[in-house]
């Protein structure tokens, strides 16, 4: 990468770092991370059109520009580990290995979807794969995450839970309550803060009086680190360390991935609360583009392999849209399905 371009990035995000693979991360796995990022990107860029065509209903919050966080964090996990999600959950699902066909069917409200059309974008879940559901109440998912980690601790299970949440969520009371309990009980939990610097229309500087959310870790006697949230390898490295600590029984950590939501809050957000031009300046940090440049520049992958992967992701999402459109509308008889067990 040109030094000048990186300097520009550092002006926007002082925490920006150059992509560099941590020891032990094979070229194959690095390329796999790129493919997952592409799949998220292709999924997300397809949504606005589907929404405008009334194929996707309700709210849809885009993970575009955040791909490095979900992919970096989930790549540091073992198959039996758990994650919890936010209202912006598509990326978390895909990074945890969900089937994009079933995801697209869910966004289209079809019975074939992961939640049989009951959840949609905002409550998408891949429970069978350890993704414990997207949550429409900002910050509320930390209870689910901390409880999942508590179960592991109490039962002597070896899994770790990664709790994805935004900067906005860290200003909810439950975030602080669970951090305290996770800390005193040394729960195997990683607080994965997606600091995209915006809580809908509230910018970071109007919502926080500390430079980094990770600074709050000191209040709970746990480690906290801030990394370049556009850098998938940096996120991976930090989460890997936090996961190792958690699995070793040493307790929770905060990993703050600092980036910037350069897309709207949701699919139809007109962003009247900020300058779209200024937000678009952050697109030079595009995490997918940066990963590609790193892969090609460092010889991990060829241009051709990247192009193939891009075409493959595009085709997969095209097929997912087809799958969703062919899905069945839930019958009225399914209305009460799933309300109670037994």
């Amino acid at each position: 990468m040109a030094e000048k371009e990186f300097e520009q990035m550092r002006k926007l995000l002082p925490e920006a770092t150059l992509l560099e693979a941590p020891p032990g991360l094979s070229p194959e796995r690095q390329f796999e991370m790129y493919r997952t990022m592409l799949l998220i990107r292709e999924f997300e860029v397809s949504i606005p059109d589907l929404w405008k065509r009334n194929l996707v209903y309700g709210l849809a919050h885009s993970y575009e520009g955040a791909e490095a966080v979900a992919v970096g964090a989930c790549s540091a996990l073992e198959p039996g580990d758990y994650i919890t999600s936010t209202h912006r959950g598509h990326g978390h699902c895909i990074a945890k290995g969900a089937d994009v066909n079933l995801m697209m069917a869910e966004l289209m409200g079809k019975y074939e979807g992961y939640c049989h059309g009951k959840g949609g974008s905002m409550h998408i879940a891949f429970v069978e794969g350890g993704m414990l559901g997207a949550c429409g109440i900002v910050g509320a998912n930390v209870g689910m995450a901390a409880g999942c980690a508590w179960r592991a601790k109490l039962r002597g299970d070896k899994d770790v839970t990664v709790c994805f949440h935004g900067d906005g969520g860290t200003n909810q009371g439950i975030w602080h309550e669970t951090l305290n309990m996770a800390s005193i009980w040394k729960l195997p939990l990683v607080y994965m803060v997606e600091n995209n610097q915006w809580s809908i229309s509230l910018s970071y500087d109007r919502a926080f009086n500390v430079p980094h959310i990770a600074d709050r870790a000191a209040a709970y006697g746990i480690p906290g680190v801030t990394v370049d949230g556009f850098n998938v390898l940096a996120v991976y490295g930090a989460v890997k360390e936090a996961v190792a600590r958690a699995r070793a029984g040493e307790g929770p950590s905060i990993v703050e991935a600092k980036f910037f939501r350069y897309v709207g809050h949701f699919v139809a957000d007109d962003q009247r609360y900020r300058s779209i031009e200024e937000a678009n300046r952050w697109r030079i940090m595009d995490p997918v583009k940066r990963m590609r440049e790193y892969l090609v520049g460092s010889g991990v992958a060829t241009e051709e392999a990247c192009r193939e992967a891009e075409a493959e992701a595009h085709a997969k999402i095209g097929a997912a849209i087809e799958f969703g459109m062919k899905g069945t509308e839930p019958a009225a008889a399914t209305l009460f399905e799933g309300l109670y067990a037994d």
Partner: protein
């Protein structure tokens, strides 16, 4: 062989036996462990089952209730205690938006076997923030089961059913019922949800009473029988979600007269729902005005005399029966 134990002992036995029976059961809450809860309800359980099963939490109701959800969703059977039910408000988002919804909105894939025990009720001068009964709120939230028994036997059997089930249950115990003795069967037993219990047979009038008011209704019924020869049937729904309408309608068909009694505030109380449903479904059975007896719409005051004015007592029920028979 039946034994006589108090409601408090019944809860303690149910918890202890379920902790013994299933190692996925945990108790958690403020003062639930070493102190054995302020009323002594969980007394001895921490000593018996230890720190990993009976867990003293920090004062973080929203946090630990939410954590109970995560534990339940991944295989545990947590029993949360909210020390006074008034403070369940602190955990409302987790209960209403997460616990009640997780199964449905995730397509029926997530079981939430979780019980929240919360002592309710007026008495003892604990005033406005330690005396309330919020059962009607939770009946309004699909996805929850709401259990509110009144006797030792019902409390024990229904608490066991709650813990063994796979749905979230809000379990309301009346603090003033803790010392009330009753017979319980020996050995292990459970009581199914959705089965009201006829606590007293009668032909002249049906009283549907909830929680502690069952005992007041029985006292009123005995007085009416002894002094006036009026025979009231007293029905305890025991579970409010699901509600056993059939038992109540069968009784109404027999008696044609109805009084509904609960302690919580009258407006939007559970009595309004019970009365509305029974009138809608049993209108043709009715031969007189159905009456509600409920708490007054006022915060619970501290003063003993004022406190007493707020909640129904047996005399209020006797008066209501007279009006309903008018």
């Amino acid at each position: 062989m039946a034994r006589r134990i108090t409601v408090k002992q019944a809860i303690n036995e149910a918890l202890s036996e379920e902790l013994e029976r299933d190692d996925r059961v945990i108790l958690l809450g403020c003062d639930v462990g070493r102190r054995g809860n302020p009323f002594g309800v969980t007394s001895g359980l921490w000593q018996k089952y230890g720190d990993s099963r009976v867990i003293d939490t920090p004062l973080s109701e929203e946090g630990f209730t939410g954590m109970a959800l995560g534990a339940a969703a991944t295989g545990m059977r947590p029993v949360v205690e909210i020390l006074y039910s008034d403070w369940i408000t602190l955990a409302m988002d987790q209960i209403v938006n997460e616990i009640a919804k997780s199964r449905y909105m995730f397509g029926g894939k997530m079981n939430v076997p979780l019980v929240i025990r919360a002592p309710v009720g007026v008495g003892g001068g604990v005033a406005a923030q330690h005396s309330q009964s919020f059962e009607s709120w939770f009946c309004h939230i699909p996805g929850l089961k709401v259990v509110m028994p009144s006797t030792a036997s019902d409390v024990k059997g229904l608490l066991k059913t709650s813990i063994r089930g796979n749905n979230p249950v809000i379990f309301f115990e009346h603090k003033r019922s803790y010392a009330i003795e009753g017979e319980v069967p020996d050995g292990d037993y459970t009581i199914p949800f959705g089965q009201a219990d006829v606590k007293r047979q009668g032909k002249d009038l049906t009283i549907v009473a909830v929680s502690l008011m069952v005992h007041h209704a029985l006292a009123a019924a005995e007085r009416l029988s002894a002094e006036e020869g009026i025979e009231c049937e007293v029905i305890d729904p025991r579970t409010l979600v699901p509600m056993d309408w059939d038992t109540m309608l069968a009784s109404l068909k027999k008696t044609s007269r109805l009084v509904v009694v609960h302690e919580s505030s009258r407006t939007c109380g559970i009595g309004g729902e019970i009365l509305a449903e029974l009138v809608e479904r049993g209108f043709d059975y009715l031969e007189g005005r159905p009456i509600r007896v409920a708490g007054l719409d006022v915060p619970i005051p501290y003063n003993r005399g004022l406190e007493h004015l707020v909640i129904p007592d047996p005399q209020h029920i006797v008066d209501a029966v007279h009006r309903a028979l008018d």
